[in-house]
Symmetry: D2
Subunit: 351 residues, 4 copies
């Protein structure tokens, strides 16, 4: 059995990790780290775990934890892991970091968008960006995996094949994303109260959201050059789910015509036909977040607009699963040579 | 592998059966019966099953189905099963009926509350009321299991130990129940439209809901005599979950005092300490539907009101799981001698 | 124009007062008191007021405010008004208190249920309980009006005629109430976060909620003696609305029969036929909270259960209007001799 | 008093018209037309109107109605008005049509996007597109007003000043709009059931929604030439509210620089500073649908992205008020020379 520790186990992403790992046959959770609830029963914080988890919350001492487990998941605020990580720790344990600390290769970009100093830039280079469908082989040999953000996972996977194959002009890419509220975390803020969110919608982080450079970097690799995009997240009154609607101009063929739907679909199939967790839907079926709820799936589809020459791509996932904890488990499976879908064969729950 | 057929597979309870059985290691679904969608891909009706279920919908020919499978789940409108069931069928296959056709032992009571004639009263006697925690042994040897209603499962399990042990006066029992909207089914009715249900609450079926006689019959067995109760269901703007708040007068002891909380708790423990799916919560923790969502748990707790001499009992479950499909699978496990929790070890999903 | 001041203007009840008073032809708001937002634009706290309210928030100096206005609304935490109220203030200004400070005539009962010392019990006697439909004449001459609680307004008005006329046994009264989340206020608490409330239901304050003694006192006046009842509030995932489902045993007539529906209806009509804000619905129509949303209406109906001899009474209101700010305005109208419905002729908003 | 008739009074837009007109001092509703509910009490269909509306539903005989009233509102399916309108009717009565029949000047475009033949193209020319803020003067003298669509009102008003002043390149315009579910109407469809919409999001009508040509036509007038855009509507789990997020490339100045935020704001102010119902929010405040709920406001703001050279414009309105019934009343006020805001001075309801 793989021994796992979670730092930040009482946030929503941490709690989802617990839910998934309890159903994982090869893993045992040894450490429920939560600075705010030390010594309290974990199940008193998340009553769904009553009689399923008997443990109490522990502190966030990474050095101590590294001695006791095989893998550490850090579902912590930005900057935490970077401030405590050492070579000593990495020699003892694999780390899957759900924060943004090692996602961006350029520390200056990280510091600009996150507004904090990066305390251990020496590990950035070796960290592997854990978008499994794209970086599978690199993840397998990693010590430190930077688990992608929820918006980014959805945004990148939805556009990746078309960027990679040069079918769209990446400079025209606009990502309009909508998220359920669990993405905002469990912090007690007026703006996240039921009465403020319910029956309401808004954009936020307009032209300034931190997932922007992450999307740009990864799609830039696919494009073979640096790109800038527009990314606008929105808050929607639901618990779980991200829907990304993406717009880009299709590159015309030599004869001036647009690629056909069949050609586009063939490109998606090339990348995703064998991917268990990416479902390219049948023609005419739009992705809906409810159909992937509770699962590790990303559902994707597209529509070509002949009138404007643009393609509208759509992707949907559960922000706490494929957008956080599920992908973290997928990365862990790769790290330890397990079946990639182990513990993740979850049928979406509807309604 | 046990071969299973589902009649009514495209209703919400039927779809939940599919979700659960897909995760059950000993069962294979061979028949997705749905009169409305014959020959259509099941996954086109429930997109969450895309790439998970390849089958198309079949008709509801029970005679044909009985030859092909080991167990049939009927998630059908009241009266359907009663109108087609034969001894011939029952000789070939086990049946778990999620409708009300065989729940009530007195056909006249059934006909009065449901307003339809019972077409096969000859099977009522042998049908076993499939509330596993109470009728476990009887279920094991049954051919025909009457799977309890969602409200009834919650209402009965919450009060059962106190009625059985004579701690409350059953004639004072009032059940005020609240349900999410999936209990109303997938029929296209104005009253179930999003805009009519959202931001709204109401009672319905006041003093006339069909689950009333079912609760009365089962708690009557526990009380050792016939009882009448008040049962009022309410519609609440959420997808899943039933919360039952139950009121009854405690019987005073010889010295005129009320039983203590410890005494009440001991009685609950006597019945449920060994039950995997019934969780009696710690003192002071109220059941919340969200903490059991997606799982087969019933969470129960109580509070004594010294001022009025009443006890307030509370129970919460997911109406589609323990209130329907989960309990049906639990019954199937008993019927076939499998581990009772097989396929049902689901961690509740939060948030 | 009547000059009004609001202390606690940035809570949900305070904001609803602002909404209603902006539409009131005889009133001008002169003071938006909010300790937390002093000197900030009121419309920056409640963006719905953008371009409608230009004022900034003021402190909660009641002495100063009393000199400037004709009426003060206090939508403040329990204990605040009791700790600052003086005879000097009452000589200058009318006060409508939306807190519980002067609702309960017995200071000891107040102190027991609220857990705080009452700092100015000398004003309790003269305070008028502002349930307009019952205490209309007393309110007219008052200096200090104790505006009833949201649950209490709904619970009392729903049962009052039957208690007053002796048709039910008040000791059998059980009130099972359900509320939207705005009743929990705008404080930043984890338990009120969107993800915790959405898709969830629970009881709270079981056998201990502070509105219990308030209901008991008022219905006790109607019954002509002290009574104790069970009152259980529940939290429901919606913004506004309270639904009270009330159970009581009907008193049988000399011949052992129950009163008929027509007799019960006649009693309701006796009390409410002339009441603009109490709507006794047609037979068979249940109150739904959505149908009164945004308005000052209470919708009421009932059903007799011949089997148990009980009556089920149901009442619905908007907790922020008739349950708080609307009733406060109604009281103000009475205090100043205005038309009672002035500023309150709001058509409920659906959907 | 102006006498008004409503055809389609039992749809959501029709019901909102009733709500607004009941609060309008100069109007009396004489005809509640509803083919589905003829002779039934209007208040039995919309219980919020109980004791406020005593009338029963009438048929949709426009010829008869024209004789009895001064203005007719048609909140009817596409094609209805076009199939019954005559010169005779227009000579007797003003018409505000909430359907799309006369919004588009080119009948061929209408027929292509709506898939039905236009039965009275002879009235298209004289019909005035009733977007009051833009066509105010034309509306005043009209007989037939084509009330704009909900999405279109929001989309156009949000972008109009910048298109009109040539600050953005209209061919780059992308409108990503999100709507509450009341926009889908009160028809009983599975896809609009609570359980299907709740906790769910999806795009629909991708690259094919009927409001596209309407936006293009009106913004084309502003641009001074034909334009094509991308418009993608989304369904969101809430009752009311539309949020439009719009993207366009800013035209660079001669020196290659982008216009400043101050310059953009000045342009918005030029068009909207005097508009009562258009609120350009303070810098940094994003429009949220909840802040305009129940009111006739459109809230607008924008953000420049220096990195991509695009501007992100955002607009929010209540689809049933400014997006339908409120705008219809505003048009009626203009038609009859009343104060434009009469009956529309509604404070948004929060929460």
């Amino acid at each position: 059995m793989i021994k796992a520790g979670i730092i930040g186990a009482t946030g929503y992403a941490g709690a989802e990790l617990v839910r998934l790992l309890l159903g994982h046959k090869e893993v045992e959770i040894k450490w429920y780290g939560s600075r705010s609830y030390i010594d309290q029963k974990y199940a008193s914080v998340y009553q769904n775990m009553f009689q399923l988890v008997d443990a109490s919350c522990m502190d966030d001492n990474l050095n101590e934890l590294a001695k006791q487990v095989d893998v550490i998941f850090t579902a912590t605020p930005q900057g935490f892991l970077a401030s405590v990580l050492t070579e000593e720790i990495l020699k003892q344990v694999k780390i899957v970091d759900l924060s943004a600390d090692y996602r961006i290769k350029d520390a200056a970009v990280y510091e600009k968008w996150y507004g904090i100093e990066h305390k251990s830039p020496q590990f950035i280079e070796e960290a592997v960006y854990g978008l499994c469908e794209i970086n599978r082989e690199k993840v397998k040999g990693a010590r430190l995996v930077a688990n992608p953000g929820c918006y980014t996972t959805c945004s990148i996977l939805t556009a990746y094949p078309l960027v990679k194959e040069g079918l769209i002009d990446p400079d025209t890419l606009i990502v309009d994303a909508k998220s359920g509220t669990s993405g905002a975390g469990r912090g007690a803020k007026v703006s996240n109260l039921f009465c403020e969110v319910n029956e309401n919608m808004k954009a936020y982080g307009v032209a300034s959201h931190r997932h922007t450079p992450e999307i740009e970097e990864q799609l830039g690799y696919a494009a073979g050059r640096e790109i800038v995009i527009n990314f606008t997240p929105h808050l929607v009154p639901m618990n779980r789910g991200i829907l990304a609607t993406e717009y880009a101009s299709l590159k015309r063929k030599a004869d001036g015509s647009l690629p056909s739907s069949e050609e586009i679909r063939a490109v998606y199939d090339k990348y995703y036909a064998e991917e268990k967790f990416v479902r390219v839907l049948d023609a005419g079926v739009v992705p809906e977040t409810k159909w992937v709820e509770g699962s590790n799936f990303v559902d994707i589809n597209f529509k070509i607009d002949e009138r404007t020459g643009r393609i509208i791509m759509m992707g949907a996932l559960d922000n706490l699963v494929k957008g956080a904890a599920g992908q973290a488990v997928q990365n862990m499976n790769l790290l330890f040579g397990l079946k990639e879908s182990e513990g993740l064969e979850l049928v979406p729950m509807f309604p």
